[in-house]
């Protein structure tokens, strides 16, 4: 008997209200509902989250590693995009 792999899903967890979902890992499932259940059973066993997203890995459009230079390096010499030239007013603790 040949074993056919179930489709791969990526799992994103919101750890508490107000924070954004973060990638936690991936699971295999045959449909969306099963993916949600499997993500719950695999990644939230120790109170890791209050919300889950799952998405078929094949649906994710990813940047091409071969194009890393063209994609990301032009930003490296544009230090003026960083907000490092501002004086932080006294009394501001968190910025």
């Amino acid at each position: 008997m040949t074993h056919k792999e179930w489709p791969l899903y990526e799992v994103f967890i919101r750890s508490k209200a107000g924070l954004s979902h973060r990638h936690a890992g991936s699971i295999h499932a045959t449909d969306d509902q099963m993916a949600l259940d499997a993500a719950r059973d695999t990644y939230t066993r120790r109170c890791e989250g209050v919300s889950l997203w799952v998405v078929r890995s094949s649906e994710i459009v990813a940047s091409d590693p071969a194009e890393t230079a063209a994609f990301f390096e032009p930003a490296e010499d544009k230090i003026y995009r960083h907000p490092t030239f501002y004086e932080i007013p006294d009394g501001v603790e968190n910025l």
Partner: protein, 252 residues
């Protein structure tokens, strides 16, 4: 039957149901072909063991004979267990397990929801906690019944047979014996006839979605609530209790 006796007997039954089903599910831990479902089964099984611990600890307190959860779980003989026959049946294949799960949990969830309203506050608290777990279990099981029932011709035929095989053990859930009656009377416990009617509706909806046919009620097995079990319970108990029997008081 006094009020105290009714409460103790009722809580013990709840513990027995949870422990025996949990033990059945634990027996297949590490054997699943898919990691995700392996984890799901282990999680769900541990929910049952957790519930059994709460029920047994409470029963031990009610009994007042210094028997803790371990004594009740591991040092009673098969005939003293009052679990439903359905729960002690061998696991069979995955479809058999899902059929058993859905048929029992459709009942158990209604039982727990009713217990949340009962007059014993500690039992109501345990029920409130367990309700959340079982609601998820039922969702998980019902989705699997749909996948199998509405899947291929083979999966449909096999899981239909699973439902049919389990059916004869479902009648026992709704037959109110003296413990059920006394508990209902003293503690405003579940009305099993009302639960039976709701169960029929809920199970019909799940089976319908799964394109499965509800078997007709014919002869129903019973005896679990009286401690008259099928041969299968003895083997389960022997394996489950071996360690405590061989090494009394073993602890780690």
């Amino acid at each position: 039957m006094t009020k105290d006796e009714a409460l103790l007997a009722y809580v013990l039954r709840l513990g027995d149901n949870a422990l025996i089903l949990g033990q059945r599910m634990i027996a297949v831990v590490t054997t699943y072909p898919e990691l995700e479902e392996e984890l799901a089964n282990a999680n769900l099984a541990l929910d049952y063991i957790g519930q059994a611990r709460l029920f047994y600890t409470y029963a031990g307190k009610l009994e007042g004979k210094d028997r803790g959860e371990d004594a009740l779980a591991f040092l009673r003989d098969g005939g003293e267990f009052r679990n439903l026959l359905l729960l002690e049946q061998p696991n069979g294949h995955f479809g058999d397990m899902m059929a058993r799960q859905v048929l029992f949990e459709s009942f158990y969830l209604l039982q727990l929801e009713a217990l949340e309203q009962c007059n014993d506050s500690h039992l109501a608290e345990i029920a409130a906690r367990a309700t959340k777990e079982i609601r998820y279990h039922l969702r998980h099981g019902a989705l699997w019944l749909t996948r199998l029932g509405d899947g291929t011709d083979t999966s449909h035929a096999r899981v239909q047979q699973s439902i049919t095989d389990c059916w004869q053990y479902t009648g026992e859930m709704f037959v109110a014996d003296n413990v059920d009656q006394a508990f209902a009377e003293f503690f405003a416990g579940p009305d099993l006839e009302a639960i039976r009617q709701q169960w029929q509706v809920n199970v019909a909806a799940i089976l319908d979605k799964a394109t499965l046919t509800m078997p007709s009620d014919e002869w129903m097995a019973s005896g679990g609530k009286r401690g008259r079990h099928s041969e299968h319970l003895g083997y389960l108990i022997a394996e489950m209790q071996f360690l405590q029997r061989a090494y009394p008081g073993a602890n780690w």
